[in-house]
């Protein structure tokens, strides 16, 4: 059993954290009234440990009162990551490594997909699900590949749920995912500023700041966003343990998620999972600001187009043909 003195000290700390000032014993008692309200919502959320003063509940309480990621200092970021890692350890016995690595200077990520070379094998779809800890129960996927007849240029005429031997003659395959628009409609639609564009061009979501209103999903003209209907179910042996705060960490129920160009990989110099797995080499990824990069070679030497370019969303995802 924990002593009452320990509890008092611990809660005093929490209140200091939340209200950002030193509390005496008198103000501590005042704070308890507020905590009772917060505590009731926590018990509803379901705690494995019955004690309201368990380590898990204290961590959850601190998590509940944290700020938007864009307003956090580096210490705040480190603290919340430590809490998230510890919570995962207590709850599921998982050893996670969550990063909060910021954008690399002078980097703007760009993506190109060769529609004349893609053969519709869908290895990218599976690799994306595996890498990004996407819920397996609802079979959510962040990439959708359309099978389109030659001569058609409309994705809506394509078959997005094919399952037969590929490639089929006289058809081409066109993968669709979040295009990380420079002028993204989803960012404008968000009422809580839970989604924004980072300096390296990736549109990210603060999963703890998202209220799940799905306005962004309605605003996106590319069907680029997904909603978490459940607490994601991922078998422990399939879980990617190297995570990023804005990327593939396990999203809470009722929040939006999307493709982040595998932010946890690309910010450490690696290729996104879909690019690395692609068996045909149709996917090209790189730094748009580097004139010697592969993506720039594609933009300068191949016939490229962007989807629904007339909307002015300015995506950083090009399709090209040989």
């Amino acid at each position: 059993m924990m002593s009452s003195k320990y509890i008092q000290e611990e809660f005093s700390d929490i209140i200091d954290d939340i209200f950002d000032k030193k509390t005496g014993r008198r103000s501590f008692l005042k704070g308890m009234a507020g905590l009772a309200a917060a505590g009731s919502s926590l018990t509803l959320a379901g705690c494995s440990n019955n004690s309201p003063f368990s380590e898990e509940n204290i961590l959850r309480l601190k998590e509940y009162f944290k700020g938007n990621f864009t307003l956090m200092s580096q210490e705040d970021k480190n603290a919340t990551i430590k809490r998230l890692e510890r919570l995962a350890k207590i709850k599921d016995g998982l050893d996670l490594k969550i990063s909060s690595k910021g954008p690399i200077p002078n980097v703007l990520f760009g993506f190109a997909l060769n529609v004349s070379r893609c053969e519709g094998f869908m290895d990218c779809v599976q690799a994306c699900v595996d890498e990004n800890n996407i819920d397996r129960k609802t079979k959510t996927q962040c990439i959708r590949v359309f099978e389109i007849e030659h001569g058609e240029m409309n994705v809506q005429s394509g078959n997005g749920k094919y399952f037969h031997e590929v490639p089929v003659d006289n058809h081409f395959y066109m993968g669709v995912q979040c295009f990380q628009c420079e002028n993204a409609p989803c960012i404008k639609a968000c009422p809580t500023k839970a989604t924004w564009r980072e300096d390296d061009g990736i549109v990210v979501v603060d999963y703890n700041w998202c209220i799940g209103c799905r306005y962004c999903q309605a605003a996106c003209p590319y069907w680029g966003r997904r909603f978490n209907w459940n607490d994601p179910y991922i078998p422990a042996e399939e879980l990617t343990r190297k995570q990023h705060y804005l990327g593939n960490r396990i999203r809470p129920k009722g929040t939006m998620e999307k493709c982040t160009f595998c932010i946890q990989r690309t910010r450490t110099g690696r290729l996104p999972a879909c690019v690395e797995i692609c068996p045909t080499g149709s996917r090209v990824f790189g730094n748009l600001l580097d004139p010697k990069s592969e993506i720039r070679f594609v933009l300068e030497n191949k016939k490229v187009f962007r989807m629904k370019e007339d909307l002015g969303t300015d995506p950083k995802f090009w399709y090209f043909v040989d």
């Binding site: 703007l108 779809v125 070679f297």
Partner: protein, 207 residues
Amino acid sequence: MKTVSEFYKMAMVVMQVVFLFYGCQQGSHDNDVNSRIKNAKTVMESQPETGETTMVLSNTVIAQVKHKDVPFRVETRKDVMERFKCSECHIGKKVHVTKADKVAHGNIKKLHGNKERPLACNTCHMKDERDFLVTEKGVKIDFNHSYQLCGHCHFREKADWVGGAHGKRVSFWAGERVVQNCTECHDPHSPKLTKRWPKTYSLPLSE
């Protein structure tokens, strides 16, 4: 005395200037991707190092071609080939072992080139020195640089491969560029990718 119409004219001029200025502001897309690319001031000598780009370079060689004067690396071929060195059997004279061709090379399906006039073994393999490849013109080519041979006919693909629009980069977009050789994806004896079932499937769009 200033009339009302004079005042009206002046107001119009002011408004026109305001609209012109506003129009200019709207017309210049300083923030779109294309102008950001064009306005990128710092020319980077190489991709930025991110601290974690430690590439194992043991099974790569520096390619004999460059893209925009930047050398890059290619994955080696000799160490993954099943029966290299060829000179262990082919030492300049006939191999006198019963059914040696079936045992050693029976698994090779030759589906390369025109159907009426398919390629022969010696179109690519050097007859005198079996450890090397050879072009039509008789230029000796190392197995690690087999892209030079492929590029002899498939020159458009090779140009794309050198630039990065064809083929695959290995693991990292940053740091030293390492790409796969042609033969990582294409079996040189039957280079077309085979049809297969997709890895997974998608549910119908419900939203």
